[in-house]
Amino acid sequence: MNKKLDLFITFFRIGAFTFGGGYAMVPLIKSEAADKKGWISGEDMLDIIAIAESTPGPIAINSATFVGYKTAGVLGSACATLGVVLPSFLIIALLGALLDKFKDLKPVAYAFFGIRAGVLALIIKALISMFKKCPKPTLKQLKTKEDSFIKYLYKALPYILMALSFCLVALIGVKSLWALLLAAAIGLSSYLAMEGGNGK
């Protein structure tokens, strides 16, 4: 089969069968693109996750673009990305129209009252796992002293940035975008200043 068409179909299938998005897609991408088709190696898959974590955008788009590019160049990445996006696009276009039509019906509005409460819980669950995954010192490490206050601040920086961005946005009403840019600037300058000695 034509490689680009194959990329499109494979990623269409991946897009159509992964619920919840995000890392839920990783196992399916691995089994389809690495194990079954041999487009990428298992090690490539780890690389993709690493890239996805340090580039913006959903991991599904990131990995479709990456696999498509490795397999068939720029056109290949366009086919794979289109494939992974299309299922959700079609389903939501259909469902969205229905939702707008029926959302004011009493049973539907009542059901959504429950759904909103449930969704809040799911988002908090996502928040907890994001907190866990974020690289940061343990409480025990946080208690041990450093030779200088600056060093201690640098060690505690992940917690400081979490608190800072939360306060800026939730309490003062700063736009998220500015909080992100500020955190990136603080992260970059402190990293370059503190990790300067032991590296290239």
């Binding site: 897009g15 619920f19 998005g21 995000g22 897609m25 890239i51 996805a52 974590e53 340090s54 580039t55 913006p56 959903p58 788009i61 990305t81 996006v85 299922p87 959700s88 696009f89 389903i91 939501i92 276009a93 469902l95 969205g96 129209a97 009542y110 059901a111 959504f112 009252f113 429950g114 759904i115 909103r116 409460a117 449930g118 969704v119 809040l120 819980a121 988002i123 908090i124 928040l127 907890i128 994001m130 907190f131 974020c134 992940p158 400081i160 940035l161 979490m162 608190a163 800072l164 961005s165 939360f166 946005v169 939730a170 998220s176 990136a184 992260g187 970059l188 990293y191 990790e195 290239k200």
Partner: protein, 185 residues
Amino acid sequence: MTQLFELFLMFFKIGAFTFGGGYAMLPLIQEEVASRGLMSVEELANFVGISESTPGPFAVNIATYVGLHSVGVLGSVFATLGVVLPSFIIILIVAHFFEKFKTNRIVKGIMSGLRPAVVGLLAAAVVTMGKSVFFKDGPVLDLKLLLGAAIFGLTLFLSLKKKHPILLILLSAALGMAGMYIIQG
């Protein structure tokens, strides 16, 4: 035309500045969409429920829906294109220079700042959404609030027990419907 371009630009910005994927996008989406009056926080919460129960990445789902909701089918095409394009372009570049990118100190430094910030921002979004879910009509302690709190607590408990999100959405929908019929008829 300008509205289409605005949608494209707005989702391009969201796509370009959210690291971590998934709900990392929520704070920015909440701000942009609510500040333009395209969708209320409550409607956004409704939609997260839909998105959890349909396939595909949250970013694509929400872009499609906001576009459809505000302009129509063409709007959803522009919004989706906008949210996808930044990662597409960046990955094409990164895939080319991957080995250098992985060990780049500037990338590492920026990421060391962004990761914790994303956690803080999502926490702030949770506060906004929590207010809209529980205290939409002001802080009144009534049966409706208790029902919402009960559904919230149960779902949180079950999701920490790793029950599947779709199952939990269906359960909260059923409990919401039953509870509200009992309370309000």
